[in-house]
Subunit: 343 residues, 2 copies
């Protein structure tokens, strides 16, 4: 592979020194106006591109941010990536992405790879399977800015941006109750994830505050379409079946919806369904899905802004930021209209 144009090449062409060329390109006024212009013109017309590695080596700075997510092909995470990329691009940063596939080992490998690349900072959303967090301590130990988003790691002292899962779930359950539901089933994800705990607590507290007894047999671990398809019919066959479902994501909610329709029950008359938003799915089911919007795009933007702030801070920033984005319940057709007050 032939090498790309370098400062040395340009310097040689004009019989100037490398430093002069370097300064000219940065418009350093100590270089004569004429010289500057001719150098810049030559560089532009010959498509000179500074060698990022060399510059990074010298300045100990890099403009690349590492992002580690469970999976790229997931509407929510893709939304977050979209937001991250947006503000990264605006600030002339570029992002390198690696997915953990929910695996601990791959997450660790990704961290090491990013550290080796000397990224300016790292954004992470935890893999379901990670229980050990020393790789994150390693990042911090190297003084590389780190911020978690969505799937955070409460033990690690660093910035985080999450959605108010607790409130989101609570609001959803409250809505179901207000529309007349009494037996609300909850489909949970991995129970050790913070977001799972928070949502479950939101679910539980909403019930309690409405004087509805918690029935543990209404709580299931189920967060995929297939599982929902399999498990829902059985649940609907119970003598004391639920009249509503709150799912961990829209895909799961869609699976429930499918099964409910198959069972000949009406939505939302017989069964109400509410999901957590991850994309187009909720708008395309029939009936459309009521869902808790998690604002992934905003989350991505915020996470990137947080890390930029840390990167740009002269001295290490003391204290950690904890941004919380409000979820918003989007009411569609899979839940009943709210009963009129005082009717």
């Amino acid at each position: 592979m032939k090498k790309q144009l370098t400062l040395k090449d340009i310097a040689h062409h004009f019989n100037l020194s490398v430093s002069t060329v370097s300064r000219a390109l940065r418009d350093d006024p100590t270089i004569g106006k004429e010289t500057r212009e001719k150098i810049k013109h030559y560089a532009k017309s010959h498509h000179y591109k500074p060698n990022g590695m060399a510059a990074g080596l010298r300045t100990k700075k890099s403009n690349v941010i590492g992002v580690i997510i469970p999976e790229i092909n997931n509407f929510f995470f893709a939304s977050v990536l979209d937001g991250i990329e947006k503000v990264a691009e605006e600030n002339n940063y570029t992002i390198i992405i690696s997915q953990s596939n929910e695996e601990y080992e791959k997450e660790v490998k990704s961290v090491h790879s990013l550290l080796s690349t000397r990224v300016a900072g790292i954004l992470v959303s935890l893999a379901k399977k990670t229980r050990n967090y020393s790789h994150f301590e390693e990042i911090i130990g190297n003084h590389v800015p780190l911020v978690f988003f969505d799937r955070i790691c409460p033990g690690v002292l660093t910035d985080k941006v999450v959605v108010n899962d607790y409130e989101g779930a609570k609001e959803a359950v409250n809505h179901l109750i207000k529309t007349g539901c009494k037996r609300i089933a909850y489909f949970d994800s991995d129970p050790h994830l913070e977001i799972s705990k928070n949502r479950r607590n939101g679910y539980l507290d909403a019930l309690r505050e409405n004087q509805i007894e918690v029935d543990q047999s209404l709580i299931y671990k189920c967060d995929t379409w297939e599982e929902a398809r399999n498990i829902t019919p059985e649940i609907l066959n119970q003598e004391n079946k639920p009249d509503a479902f709150l799912a961990f994501n829209d895909i799961t909610a869609s699976g429930i919806l499918f099964a409910v329709k198959k069972a000949g029950l009406r939505i939302p008359e017989d069964i109400s369904i509410c999901g957590f938003a991850d994309g187009y799915v909720s708008q395309n089911t029939d009936p459309t899905l009521t869902s808790v919007d998690q604002h992934g795009y905003e989350m991505g933007k915020m996470a990137m802004e947080l890390i930029l702030k840390r990167i740009r801070a002269e001295k290490e920033v003391k204290g950690i930021s904890n941004r919380i984005i409000k979820t918003t319940l989007i009411e569609r057709e899979s839940t009943k209209p709210v009963l009129k007050q005082g009717a």
Copy 2:
């Protein structure tokens, strides 16, 4: 920011030279076994990570691949990314992503940024708005491997991997015809895109081969959910309305489906609908969508494999590869069953 551990640090700790440490870590046999072991142990326990920039500078190699896509938050492209990341990871490459947002300027900027980063190769799927291709020639001029996927650029001489859009559309139309449809509407995307041309030709040829007269009034430029929602009702009000729709993607197909149901028509009895697959949408509509699967994941893997081959080739590879992935028609509920032959 405190600096990370370097070879020099390790060398200093053992009172050895940097070169010895470097070789020891690569298990060079010219370094004494004992020395090697103690160095490797020290490096591991102190989490030494080679500085990728320095190594890259010296060796003129990098293990990062640049990917430019129209948008991250799109199931199809996310699938491709998934595939790319998969084989990249297997080969110890990392990927840096930038989205063009369908804008020419941003695409150019991305190319320059990647070139500056000295990526080992670049994967691109064209933005809708680019008409000028000199930025790609610039990549080639710098001898950086380039491969296009899906939205290719026929004028640029480089590897490509696409789906057989022509055949895919043709097969879909043939299927519609075989199920009894006679007036098939086609919702097109940007007409200058290669994939648009190919699909349209597939559509047209399928009609001709079945002795069905082409009706230009059945061809529309429409590739979003909203547009489909707006335009479809009007089409259904025509005196000579179509009995089938072939859409550019599933989102659009879903919009059509929505409008058709709203109009009180039955699917597929009155109207058949077929989309081009991009995700969960097709499985979650009611009825579920018949769709042409584009195998994004496979496409990503193949594109990455192609570029790796070029990167690893000692000398410039002569000739260009042109991989074509076969689409597969996935029959679901939005189209009628095929009429029995000879019935």
